[in-house]
Symmetry: C2
C-alpha cells in the first residue's frame, strides 16, 4: 500500500485509519497472500467476458419462465460441471409466466406519432383496438395519489417522474415506487390506463420494462413505460393543448409455468458445512439480451468460483453459487416477486443458519468502488486486511450500515443471514437497464475483470476465515 | 482577422494565401460590413431553435405525402407571412405515398428474439404471417452481387456493410448503394427477403429507415434495415450455426397522394430578377420527428431569411427559400425520387437561368467547418472576402470541385445552376439519421446558431454581389 493511497483512505474513511495504516506493517497471512494472488490472476483475464458473450448469443433474451431461461440454466450447469464445480443442480419451481407478446403505443392527437412503449410486467392485455384517452400528467407519485376520485375518468394517467442519475443507482427507488404503485393510484382516480416516464436515466428512444404490482390476476390497469424522449414529446405537446394516446398490449399470463435456480458449490477444505453464498440472476427482461442485467453477474460469479477452484488450495468454507430464476417476475399470488429467491430460501430453510454471509452481483459490469461489510467489520482487523487487498483495485472499504446484498438475498437476509455489498459504479447502468439496448456490446471487459478480481479476493478472505458475521466484532482494531 | 487565424488559414489552404492575407488590409466594403453585422446578430440568437421545436412538437413525424407534412407546410407558410417574407406559397404535386404502417422482425432460431427492424421505403407488404428463412451474410455489396443464381433460394440475404464514421458523412454513399441495389441483387440470386445492417454509425438498437429502389409497383423483395446491435447479434449467432428470421410488413402504397413545396422570397433591392436559392426539406422519416433531418435545415433557412429581411437594407438579389416536399420518397415511376425537387425544377424551368446559385441545408445541426464555392471562386477576391467573414466562425473556405449543393438541388444543378456547400460536421449525424432517435433534444442550439450565422453572412455577400457564378473568375486574386 503506497503512502498516497494510504493517505486517501485515511481521509475518506478516517475510522479505518488505525486499522489500515498500522495493519499494513503486520505480516501478510497465508489467506491474504492467496487473496492477492487470486486478485492478480483475475486481472490477467478470466472466463467472465466470454461467458457473458456465450449467454447473450446462445440464448438471447431470457424472460422469467421462458424456454430461453431454462435452456440457459441447463447450458450453464453443463459448463459449470466441465469447469469442475461440485454438486451442480437445476432446481425448478412453479411460476405464473407473464409474456409481453406484442405491445404498441401512439399519439393519436394532435397528430399521429408512434410511441416507444413497453407494457409493464403484470399489465393486462387490452384487446387489439387498445385503449385510447387524453393524457393527464403528474410529475410525482404524490401528485397522482392526490388525484380526486373520478377525476381521471376516461383519462390516461401519466407519471412523469424523472429518475436522477447517481453513482450508487439510488435514484431507482422512487422510480420503482411509481412503477409498482402508480397503476393502483391511477385506477382509484378512474383512469383507463397508466403510462410512466421510464425508470431510467438515458435520453434515448428506449422504454424500460419492469414490473408493476398485481391486483388479482393482473395489474389494475393497462400500464406502460414510455421512453424518455416520448415522455419529453408528450410534455411539450401538453403545453400546447390536449394530447390523446392509444395503447395496446397482447400480454398473456400462463398460470402453469415454471422457472428454476441453478446451484453449484466449491466445497470448503476445513469447514465445508459453512456456506458463503454468491448469486446473480438467470432471467432477463425480454427487450434486450440482458447483458448488464444480469449476464454480467453470471459471468462474474462463474469466473470467481472458477478462480477459487483453480487456486493451489481451497478456502476453509464452502462457496455456493446460485443463479436465481425469475428475479424480474412478480406474481398474482405475490406481487413482490423474487420467486427464485423465495424458492431457494424455502428449500434451504434448515441450512440458513449455516449460510455465514452472502451477496449478489446484479448491477451490471461497472467498476466496483466500495465495499460495505456487516456492522462493525469494516473497522476490524478483518476489515483492514480486506482493505489492503481491495484498495489496489480502487475499492474503498466503507462504513455504511446495513449493507444491501442484492434483491435475491432479501429472503435469506430476512432469515438472519448477513450480507456484504461490493458497490458498483452504476452511473450509466440505468441508461440500459431493462431496455432493448442491454446487449453484449455494452460490457466493458476491463471493468468486468475488476469486478471478478474484487469478488474473488474478498470471497477468498471471507471463505478462508472463521469469522461469525452475525456477531459484531467484540473489539475494534487497534 | 488576427495573425494566428491568418496563419492557420494559410497553412490549411495555401492557395488562399495571397487573397486572404493581402485582402485583409483592403478596406471593408459596405456589403462586408453588413455581412459581419448579420453574422453577429445571428450569434446573439435567432428563431432557428424555437422553429425546430415548433415543427417537431406541432407536427411530429412528417412522412412524404402525409397530412403532417402538409400541415407543417401550411403552418410554416403562415409563420413566414407573419415574419414578412414575400410571395409565400404552397405548391402541391402528385405523389405515390408509401406508408410503413406496422412492421416487425424476429430471430426464430436458434431462439426467439425481437429484432429492431424497419421496412425500407418501397418495400412491399408481406402479409401478416411474414416471410421466414435462414440468413446468408454478405459483408459487401460486391459479395452479394457475386452470389450465383438460385444460391439464395428460400434464404434471407443480409448485407452486413459497416458504414464508416467520417466528418463529411461521405461513408453514407456506399451504404445507400447497398440499400438501393441490395434487394435487386438478392432477388436475382433467389432470396425471399433482404435485410441490411442499417446505413448508420451508431451502436444502438435503432434501425435506420431509408429508400430502396422500386421494381414496378414495389421493391423486388420485402426489404428491411436492422439496428447495428441486431446485426451484431446475427453475426455472432452465425458463427455458431444457422440463424432463422421472420419479417413482416404491412406497408401500403397510395398511388393518388400528394406532397408540396413551400416557397417564399425576400425580394432583391436592385436585381430582384436574380434569384439565390436556399433550401431544406419539409418531410421527414416516420420513426422520429425529423429534428436533425431536416427540421434543423428548415429552422436554419427560416432564420437566415428573417435575419436578412430584418437588416437595415436588403441585398441586391432576391433570396428564395424553398422547402422541398417528399425528399425522402422514391416512386414506382421514378425510383430515384426527389419529387419535390423535380416538381420545383419543372415549375420554374423558364427561370432557372435566373437562379444565380443555390444550396440546401440538409445535414443536421452540426457546426459548419468549411465552404466549397464554385470552381475558381475560392481563390478570387470574392473568396477572400467570404473567408474574412466566415473564418471567425471557424469556417474555412476550401478548394474542392465541384461542390455538392444538396440532394434537392440536383435537378437545378443538372440544368446548369451553380451551387455552394457549407460543410457541416456530420461526425454524429448518421447516428441519428432516419431513426426513432432523430428528435428535438438532439439539436445543439449553439451549433445551430453558428449555422445560421455562416449561412446568413455568406448569403448576404452572395446576394449583394453581381458575380456570375456560372463563369469562373477571369483573373485570380493578386
Amino acid at each position: 500500500m503506497n503512502r498516497l493511497i494510504c493517505a486517501l483512505l485515511c481521509v475518506s474513511a478516517f475510522v479505518l485509519h488505525s486499522a489500515a495504516c498500522s495493519a499494513a506493517q503486520v505480516a501478510d497471512s497465508a489467506a491474504e497472500r492467496m487473496a492477492v494472488s487470486v486478485r492478480e490472476r483475475a486481472l490477467r483475464g478470466t472466463v467472465a467476458y466470454s461467458f457473458v458473450e456465450e449467454i447473450t448469443a446462445r440464448f438471447g433474451p431470457r424472460p422469467a419462465g421462458s424456454p430461453a431461461e431454462r435452456k440457459a440454466g441447463e447450458w450453464i450447469a453443463d459448463e459449470w460441471r466441465k469447469f469442475g464445480f461440485g454438486n451442480v443442480r437445476v432446481e425448478p419451481f412453479r411460476l405464473a409466466v407473464w409474456s409481453r407478446n406484442r405491445d404498441h403505443g401512439s399519439i393519436v392527437a394532435p397528430f399521429g406519432q408512434p410511441l416507444a412503449v413497453a407494457a409493464l410486467g403484470g399489465s393486462p392485455a387490452t384487446g387489439a383496438a387498445g385503449v385510447e384517452g387524453d393524457v393527464v400528467l403528474f410529475n410525482t407519485l404524490d401528485d397522482l395519489q392526490a388525484a380526486a376520485a373520478n377525476s381521471l375518468r376516461g383519462k390516461v394517467a401519466m407519471l412523469n417522474y424523472r429518475m436522477p442519475r447517481t453513482q450508487s443507482g439510488i435514484g431507482y427507488g422512487l422510480a420503482t415506487a411509481g412503477r409498482s404503485q402508480g397503476p393502483t393510484m391511477a385506477a382509484k382516480a378512474g383512469a383507463i390506463a397508466f403510462i410512466m416516464r421510464s425508470a431510467g436515466t438515458d435520453n434515448e428512444r428506449y422504454p424500460h420494462a419492469g414490473l408493476t404490482r398485481y391486483a388479482g390476476r393482473s395489474a389494475p390497469l393497462p400500464s406502460f413505460a414510455l421512453s424518455a424522449i416520448d415522455a419529453n414529446q408528450i410534455e411539450r405537446l401538453a403545453t400546447r393543448g390536449s394530447v390523446r394516446v392509444r395503447l395496446a398490449s397482447a400480454a398473456t399470463l400462463d398460470m402453469s409455468g415454471q422457472s428454476q435456480n441453478v446451484v453449484a458449490e466449491i466445497a470448503g477444505s476445513e469447514l465445508p458445512q459453512e456456506i458463503v453464498i454468491i448469486g446473480a440472476h438467470l432471467d432477463s427482461w425480454d427487450l434486450g439480451t440482458g447483458a448488464v442485467d444480469d449476464a454480467a453477474g453470471i459471468g462474474i460469479v462463474t469466473a470467481v468460483a472458477k478462480l477459487i477452484l483453480d487456486s493451489p488450495r481451497r478456502p476453509k468454507r464452502t462457496l455456493r453459487i446460485v443463479l436465481f430464476g425469475a428475479e424480474e417476475a412478480s406474481q398474482p399470488t405475490d406481487p413482490f416477486g423474487l420467486f427464485g429467491a423465495h424458492a431457494y430460501a424455502t428449500r434451504y430453510k434448515s441450512e440458513i443458519t449455516r449460510h455465514v454471509i452472502g451477496s449478489e452481483s446484479d448491477l451490471g459490469s461497472g467498476r466496483i468502488f466500495g465495499l460495505d461489510l456487516p456492522d462493525g467489520f469494516a473497522a476490524s482487523d478483518f476489515g483492514a486486511q480486506v482493505s489492503r487487498v481491495l484498495l489496489p483495485l480502487g475499492v474503498l472499504v466503507e462504513l455504511e450500515v446495513p449493507p444491501h446484498g442484492g434483491a435475491d438475498l432479501l429472503p435469506l437476509q430476512a432469515a438472519g443471514m448477513p450480507v456484504f455489498l461490493l458497490k458498483q459504479d452504476a452511473t450509466t447502468y440505468f441508461d440500459l437497464h431493462h431496455t432493448a439496448a442491454d446487449t453484449f456490446d455494452k460490457i466493458d471487459r476491463k471493468d468486468l475483470e475488476q469486478n471478478v478480481a474484487a469478488w474473488s479476493a474478498l470471497l477468498w478472505l471471507i471463505a478462508d476465515s472463521e469469522i461469525n458475521f452475525r456477531a459484531p466484532p467484540a473489539t475494534l482494531a487497534r
